[in-house]
């Protein structure tokens, strides 16, 4: 049974194709598809700095006092004394800008400013100390390192500069699309994986939805310090994911009291959007223009500062996001109304201990939430309420400067309530407004809904309702020891950790009033005569609980064999058990995931890098799997009304079993889905601040969850039922498997020209070539059930966009005293395969059958160009910043999704196009 997904303010989530296809007649079948996961991941929210002190000839100088300080350095500045090899290091540094000073008697002190520390990166900063008599300048602003010669990951860190100056939209889901290998919005496809195969982390807490494997938190964009996007090559510490990792790190505050408030208004009502095909009653229209609502308003505030100087910092942020966005052919917009709250406290009472705690809330109400069906009628307006709380308590114990223990506890509760409401609080939407005494913000449990049939109108979600509560309890601890000197055998950075993760999914699902009415043939129904309608009673709401337990442990080592060669290796072991509603373990899995990488600086000048290696990553948790075999499903008790011109009562031919249980089974020998990854990275600094990067990734994903249908037997091409094994052919019995055939192969090559921030500008140009072939796009591939009688179709996947170009950057104009910045983002995605569906009696309509994936055609390529203009104005006590964004400035309106088929024909109807030209005006005040 699939779980509902969180939504972001700028777009509703794409619903599964099978839900589109099955329509309102069989929502229970649509629910069956759910093989979901949430990955385990350890916290990584800090960076590190290390280097060697030497004289101007390069000879190491031991005993140099190295002091690191920075406005974002809680606990005050830190000192190290370089060892016999001149080496020093600082760990567990909050991301931000630092200053490094080195001093020793007989040498001039050297101060290096502008050192940027990023999350999960180790900055290598060697220091050359001139002798006392030297006249060499001793204060300098360091350049950013173009090449991180010890890093083996593929991915990017999106710093505050990028987040503020690149026109991507004000949410992290949009911002991560800047990274190479990331496709799509909301829940993106990363490195060829499915949208439910990524891991989301917030300040080290795993916030991946334990049911859907998608994001589960929205929050204040201004509170983000950095976003790390990781697509591969990461160490065991960092967790597992078949796709990528989105690691969000929020600000922590400083010793300065800082305040930020902002107001943004985005309007996309620029020009009509065409190709609306259906009116509210489902009648087809010729392609025509629609008044398109596209408005987003965000108001946010943030306060941060010291509670106790150098000891305790806080940050509190709030954002209100309101959007009214209308999809093609939908006559009323989706109304998204959200409040994001983040409160965080970081305390470092001594140099040995640091405590961090935060709480994040994001209550949201979304009216007319379902923008993918043609009609939501006033009496069945859809509403999704979502939100939850994430809280973390973390203790970092610095045993020595080189060893620390990092322990964290996380609790998360999220809820999603989807249902219909009888009236709306928004009188501008054109719905029936609430009268005094009417339910307004409550989901309607009692009013039976109406479903259309035969094109009358269509509604999948309503009157169906879902109340979900999802819980996560997580505890982890890890030990890090760096710079272990092994003499002639180099140095080692060793880490080890354990993590326990318990997830719970409580859900109630049903039909309002335990009945739904189906209207026939576009004609008005007559409730008295049973003409043109019929009703289906259900057995009532079903309630169930599924639980998951996961344990993970890892050990890893980064072995610096010689100064210019680092070998990284390790392994992690994941064990998971998911239990169904009866408490029975239905899915058990374990996997040892080894990883081995190297990183070589061939010239030893930190201007070149060749790295690569092998890693295995898995998908360790699947609450949806437990749900799949939970033993809970609807019974359809009674059908009556006019069917096919005849008045019938208790028509057994149309009635299903009463009540109906779930006969699905799980194969005892399920495997944990995994990906084996090979990668090769070659980087070279061309000129100072400019580097060329080459990434080559090959991923072999195997043993994705699939189900095959055990009961129904089909004809030669799977288009018609000719028999059944156990019971009537309408009763599907599925078996969960992880067959070897459920696989995909993905290759990606990135060529990047990277100009780091210097001389007032920064830019990045990436061309990505990718190929994605396989039988299954994701662990949700059950939507293309590979039944008996059907072949596993191996072919291009949805992510098979062969060419992607991303270019972005910003330029701080030399217009002093004006402080102006221009940012830009240009993206191009070549077309993706579009599958075609054929009439199938088995699926009561159209479905994908034996034809190879992607043979029909490909989506058109997508271009998009956006610019951003920031104007800073010094005002009393602070800075006022005016922002202007032109998103999709050329108003490209290329289709980006399709209804593969609809009703009784097989046309490719355009479901949505690119978001139109949007103009966003913003004001930020900061001191």
């Amino acid at each position: 049974m699939s779980g509902s997904q969180r939504q972001a303010h700028n777009a509703p989530p794409a619903r599964s194709l099978i839900a589109r296809l099955l329509g309102g007649a069989l929502p229970a079948i649509a629910m069956v598809v759910a093989l979901l996961h949430a990955s385990l991941a350890f916290a990584t929210t800090t960076g590190a700095l290390k280097g060697v002190t030497s004289d101007l000839t390069g000879l190491p100088i031991p005993g140099v006092t190295v002091t690191l300080s920075g406005v974002g350095m809680i606990g005050g500045s830190q000192e190290r004394v370089s060892d016999a090899n001149g080496a020093f290091n600082f760990v567990q540094l909050l991301p931000g800008e630092y200053e490094l000073t080195a001093a020793k008697t007989g040498f001039k002190a050297v101060t290096l400013k502008g050192i940027q520390i990023s999350v999960n990166r180790t900055m290598v900063q060697n220091i050359s100390l001139p002798e006392e008599s030297s006249d060499v300048e001793v204060v300098e602003v360091v350049r950013q390192k173009t090449i991180d010669v010890e890093d083996t990951t593929i991915g990017e860190v999106l710093t505050k500069d990028y987040l503020q100056n690149i026109p991507t939209g004000r949410d992290y889901q949009s911002a991560v699309t800047m990274a190479a290998g990331v496709i799509g919005y909301g829940n993106p496809n990363m490195a060829g994986a499915g949208t439910n195969e990524n891991t989301y982390m917030l300040d080290g807490a795993n916030i991946t939805d334990p049911v859907t494997g998608t994001f589960s938190v929205n929050f204040n964009y201004d509170a983000i310090q950095q976003i790390e996007v990781v697509l591969g090559g990461y160490m065991p510490e960092y967790g597992v994911s078949l796709g990528g990792i989105i690691n969000l790190v929020t600000e922590s505050g400083t010793n300065n009291l800082e305040f930020l408030s902002s107001f943004f208004y985005l309007n996309g009502n620029w020009g009509p959007r065409i190709d609306g095909r259906f009116t509210a009653d489902g009648f087809e229209l010729a392609p025509s223009a629609f008044d398109q609502s596209y408005r987003i308003i965000t108001v946010s505030g943030k306060v941060s500062g010291p509670v106790v100087r150098d000891k305790a910092w806080f940050i509190v942020s709030y954002e209100h996001a309101r959007s009214l966005i209308q999809n093609i052919g939908i006559d009323v917009p989706r109304d998204y109304d959200a409040h994001y709250v983040l409160a965080k406290l970081t305390v470092q009472p001594s140099s040995e201990h640091r405590f961090t705690t935060f709480i994040q809330l994001d209550p949201t109400v979304i009216d007319n939430t379902d923008q993918t069906t043609q009609t939501v009628r006033p009496e069945a307006q859809g509403r999704q309420a979502q939100g939850g709380v994430v809280t973390q308590a973390r203790w970092q114990w610095f045993l020595t400067p080189d060893a620390n223990l990092d322990t964290a506890f996380v609790f998360q509760k999220s809820f999603i309530e989807v249902g219909s409401v009888p009236c709306t609080h928004n009188r501008n939407l054109g719905y029936h407004p609430c009268e005094p005494g009417e339910l307004e913000n409550n989901t309607d449990w009692t009013t039976p809904g109406r479903l259309g049939s035969f094109g009358a109108y269509d509604s999948v979600t309503y009157p169906y309702f879902t109340f979900d509560d999802r819980f996560r309890y997580q505890a982890s601890t890890k030990l890090n020891i760096v710079s272990i000197d092994a003499g002639a055998f180099g140095t080692h950075d060793i880490g080890a950790g354990v993590e326990v993760n318990q997830t719970v999914w409580d859900t109630i699902q049903g039909y309002t009033g335990n009945v739904y009415y189906v209207d026939l043939n576009l004609l008005p129904y007559d409730p008295q005569t049973l003409v043109n309608w019929y009703a289906v009673e259900t057995t009532g709401p079903i309630k169930y609980r599924t639980t998951g337990s996961q344990w993970s442990t890892y050990i890893q080592d980064a072995w610096k064999v010689v100064p210019n060669l680092t070998l990284k290796g390790g392994a992690r072991f994941d064990r998971s058990i998911q239990r169904n509603d009866l408490g029975e373990p239905v899915v058990e899995g374990m996997l040892l995931a080894p990883r081995a990488y190297f990183s070589w600086d061939p010239f030893g000048d930190q201007k070149s890098k060749v790295s690569g290696g092998y890693g295995r990553f898995n998908d360790s948790s699947n609450l949806g799997v437990a749900s799949f075999v939970s033993g809970a499903s609807y019974g359809f008790k009674l059908v009556y009304g006019e069917i096919n011109g005849e008045y019938t009562s208790n028509n057994q031919a149309l009635a299903f079993d009463v009540p109906r249980g779930n006969d699905n089974v799980a194969n005892e020998n399920l495997l944990m889905p995994r990906v084996d990854e090979l990668l090769l990275i070659v980087e070279r600094e061309l000129i100072p601040d400019v580097a060329i990067r080459n990434n080559l990734v090959y991923k072999m994903t195997r043993y994705l969850f699939e189900y095959d249908e055990l009961n129904v037997i089909y004809d030669e091409d799977g288009s018609a039922i000719i028999g059944s094994r156990f019971s009537d052919p309408f009763n599907t019995i599925s078996r969960l498997r992880t067959p070897q055939l459920a696989r995909r192969n993905y290759i990606q090559y990135d060529l990047t020209l990277d100009k780091l921030q210097a001389k007032r500008w920064s830019a990045r140009l990436t061309w990505t070539y990718a190929n994605s072939l396989g039988t299954s796009q994701s662990s949700l591939s059950g939507s293309f059930a590979n039944d008996p009688q059907s072949q596993y179709n191996y072919g291009p996947q949805f992510t098979d966009r062969n060419h992607v170009v991303k270019a972005f950057g910003y330029w701080q104009l030399p217009t002093e005293p004006w402080d102006q910045t221009i940012g830009f983002l240009v993206t191009y995605y070549s077309g993706a395969p579009l599958e075609r569906f054929y009439y199938s009696e088995k699926d009561f309509g159209y479905s994908l059958r034996i034809f190879d994936r992607g043979i029909y055609t490909r989506w058109p390529g997508l271009w998009e160009a956006s610019v951003k203009f920031n104007q800073d104005i010094d005002v009393r006590r602070g800075t006022l910043q005016l922002q202007l964004d032109l998103l999709n400035m050329f108003n490209f309106q290329t289709p980006d999704s399709f209804w593969a088929t609809f009703y009784s024909n097989n046309r490719m109807l355009i479901a949505s196009r690119q978001d139109p030209l949007q103009i966003q005006l913003g004001v930020r005040y900061e001191f």
């Binding site: 080894p594 092998y614 194969n667 005892e668 020998n669 495997l671 995994r674 084996d676 090979l678 090959y698 072999m700 195997r702 043993y703 095959d708 055990l710 037997i713 089909y714 004809d715 030669e716 091409d717 288009s719 018609a720 039922i721 000719i722 028999g723 059944s724 094994r725 156990f726 052919p729 498997r737 992880t738 067959p739 070897q740 192969n745 290759i747 190929n771 072939l773 590979n786 039944d787 008996p788 009688q789 059907s790 072949q791 075609r836 054929y838 009439y839 009696e841 034809f851 009784s904 024909n905 097989n906 046309r907």
Partner: protein, 299 residues
Amino acid sequence: MNHPLRSNGLRSALLLLPLAACTYDEGIIVQDMVGTIVVPEAAATRTFAYEDGTEQTVTDTRVIGPIYLGLYASVDANVLAYPHPEMGPIIDPDVPGDTYPYGGTAVGDVRFACVEFLTCKTVSGRFMDYDAIVEWFRDVVKDPVTDSSGVEVPSGDWLKQECYDLLFVTQDSEVRITAYEDRNDDGVIDEKDLDFVQRSDGAFEAPFTIFQQDFVEGFSLWGWMDAPSPADQSFRTCDPTEGFNVAEYDADFYGGTLYDNLLNFPSNYIERGDYVASTGFTYQSADETPELLIDFLVE
């Protein structure tokens, strides 16, 4: 150019990977089961008697109806007047027992050919092209294909266009009623790419595949052929009141679809003139490739 992931060189290189898990045994035997069915020449031969008193005897793949193949617990030669799979308990005296097939498939489907006249009368894998449909009914059956207005369909091209318009498709491979792919890889799409090929002994043979079958040692393959009705060339295994609905202009009809219990209750549909397999093939291993003879004429 070959796809990079299909490159032999790259594949070979990847063999070096530690992919021991690729040999993982799920513990269940699920595999495509392949074999051949053979239909005697007599089953593909029919004598047509025309109103003018003449007769014509034709041996042609177009006489061969859909073949339904099932995997059953066993085949019983004595339960009915013809060999039939073992049945479960008879609960209703008027209804035969359920045969509870383990799996099955069809060789050739009764498929809608886009005009009401042809509902339940055309089988995939039998007609080379649309002309072959029109000519068969016009020249052999002597009952020309007509459109919804009762006007004789003039050509295969007309019928093809009707299918394209009705089904919103653009290729024969999407209609899937004529020969649409070069199955034997000889470079041309011809009669040899239909389901059946005539052997030197006059019999017709066709390959079959039962996809992803759970193997049960000792189960038997058995099948039968629904021969076209002598009266109107329709097939009894097809329900003309269901299937693709055509509702436009003055036409309102269904294209027909197969009944959903053909393998469970075959005796409900087998009638005089049909052929069944006189003996089933009992599997001892999933790798066997049986040749099943559909040779027993039901009298």
